[in-house]
Symmetry: C2
């Protein structure tokens, strides 16, 4: 498309700051003949305090019309835990059927990793985004009494598992290593685990060129720190994917570099791109936030919309910028954004 | 007690090999006036293949009479995933109400860690052992069809959460740092998360000397690799505890050193001690298994039975042995066991 109609949800804490830099880089990378139109949505803690709303139907309806959504971060200590997460962020993922939560992990040269030996890390986690323990199917009875019972139900469907597993196989088939690892806990969660494992084994027949592997989630965390180079594409459920991708971010230079896309591959609804990090209220307004994760999320956004060349330009710019970073002279959020914008334009 | 009546479940793979060394060290450390009696139970893959049984009522009944249980490892690729885990290991944990799954993590000097900078790690995870997603409350319908739905239910009770939280506060109060971190995911699993968070906040009033902290499980994995020295006592649910303790083992020198106790603090049923690692069928019979995790589990066993001095002797012996280990000249399972036995006896 020769135009991009983008919804922007800056959100809370450092969200607006990193989104500003993401948009700066996006404007800089787009050729003159691609028109960029952005519409900001006031959603998050401020809106909730002002009106009690998290994501009203009217906003959801308007959001549907855009080509894609760029989101900064959601969450503030002044709002009870879960209100904005369930009422806004997860509501968007579910309403727009973002069943592929795509989270690439790569250890860029010259970036800090807590791992000795700097392993060669380059994998992508395909996290299911619309099922599992995230469905919001739980409750409690006798709440607040010594007889309270609280439940959380993980719901997994063949429909939901098969589509994300197919997506993961497609991605694995397109990568040089062509390897897909399923992560679950099928020795304990036998019913959901059986569905996931059987689905992978069945679809694997259609992808003889892709090798497959299975790991329990606990064992997977071990390999993330001892042998992360063994991974290529990982497919896993919503909760395991949440846990593993924070760990992946930590070993590849930190949450300041981790990008993600909440993707609706069919294009029925707009996909949504966001840094993996949260709103970090403790550093909001200080200029310390690293906008790189948001900038890399913009690259995923461009790729999703078919602008592959521009996506690569951004990723190359980030690579080059990181290679020249000097930890001793930190830059502000805006300075990093400026540097990246200059690189992609140049 | 001046005698120990121990049930031993060697189990599968390297289980029998590491248990033999654990018993060797146990015999060596006990003073002459403490009588040790052991009874071996044939449970695991062999038994299941031979009889179809995982843990018959008769065995469960006999096991009840012992002072404690030492378990090697359970699991074999020839048995469908989940059969031995649910039918034997978890059945024991649930039947004997092992609600405190105690997993200490310490980076001993001279041991390999994948982390650069060798942080000072010394924390203990108190993992709930009888609730959550491990209750086996799940199922599937239209199994094997494109319309399959598979569920797993996490059940959490005030009764179950409070008792393990109390245990964790007691442990935190007895340690120098006196810090307790609750790990959960209360922004998504709001019902279970609310129960856990409220329970910790309430019991905290009774322990003003203990400082408390809360982390989402995804964020906790980040700190495990970037700042593990921040943890003292961690309390968490069954599944999060499973995941975090494998990661903890990985950063503190590997699963070959990670000990655990499945504890029934009331003493209603025997507690069970086991290495965190699995049966590792790939190295069974090669003499490559490190029995140290089992030996450290024996130390936890002795401490639980009131033999604190002997527990410390074992832990000091392991420390001293690790300090002198030379990665270039690996020893066999039995050689490590011999060396540790010699140290504790000497
Ligand atoms: C904020 C929270 C609901 C969210 C999640 O758990 O998915 C976040 O951790 C993430 O990974 O995007
Ligand atoms: C074997 C498996 C059932 C077990 C668990 O998940 O508890 C193991 O991983 C552990 O941590 O002891």
């Amino acid at each position: 498309a020769r135009s991009i109609d983008l919804a922007v949800i800056p959100g809370d804490g450092i969200g607006p700051e990193v989104v500003a830099e993401g948009l700066k880089v996006l404007s800089a990378v787009l050729p003159g003949d691609i028109k960029l139109e952005t519409t900001a949505y006031d959603l998050g803690a401020r809106r909730w305090h002002a009106t009690g709303e998290t994501l009203p139907d009217a906003d959801l309806e308007r959001l549907k019309a855009h080509d894609a959504i760029l989101l900064g971060a959601i969450g503030d200590p002044s709002v009870p835990s879960g209100v904005l997460e369930r009422g806004l962020l997860l509501k968007l993922r579910f309403a727009f059927d973002h069943y592929v939560n795509l989270r690439p992990s790569r250890l860029f040269p010259n970036t800090a990793t807590p791992l000795a030996g700097r392993p060669d890390i380059d994998f992508v986690v395909v996290r299911e985004g619309t099922e599992g323990l995230y469905v919001g199917n739980g409750g409690s009875m006798r709440t607040g009494t010594p007889a309270e019972v609280a439940t959380e139900v993980s719901i997994n469907t063949a429909y939901g598992v098969e589509r994300v597993v197919r997506d993961a196989f497609e991605r694995a088939a397109a990568r040089p290593a062509r390897k897909l690892t399923l992560v679950h806990k099928n020795n304990v969660l036998v019913h959901a685990g059986h569905l996931w494992k059987n689905t992978v084994d069945r679809i694997a027949q259609e992808y003889p060129q892709v090798s497959t592997d299975y790991l329990h989630v606990d064992a997977a965390t071990i390999f993330f720190v001892t042998q992360p180079e063994r991974f290529d594409v990982i497919v896993t459920d919503n909760l395991f994917g949440d846990i593993l991708t924070d760990l992946a971010a930590a070993v590849t230079g930190g949450i300041g570099l981790a990008a993600s896309g909440n993707i609706n591959p069919a294009g029925t609804f707009p996909s949504m791109f966001e840094p993996v990090h949260g709103s970090a209220p403790d550093i909001a307004g200080t200029g310390k936030a690293d906008p790189t994760a948001t900038v890399l999320s913009v690259a995923l956004l461009l790729r999703h919309l078919g602008h592959e060349a521009e996506a690569v330009r951004i990723e190359d710019a980030v690579s080059a910028d990181l290679a020249e970073r000097d930890a001793a002279t930190p830059r502000t959020t805006a300075q990093i954004g400026d540097a990246l914008a200059a690189r992609v334009a140049g």
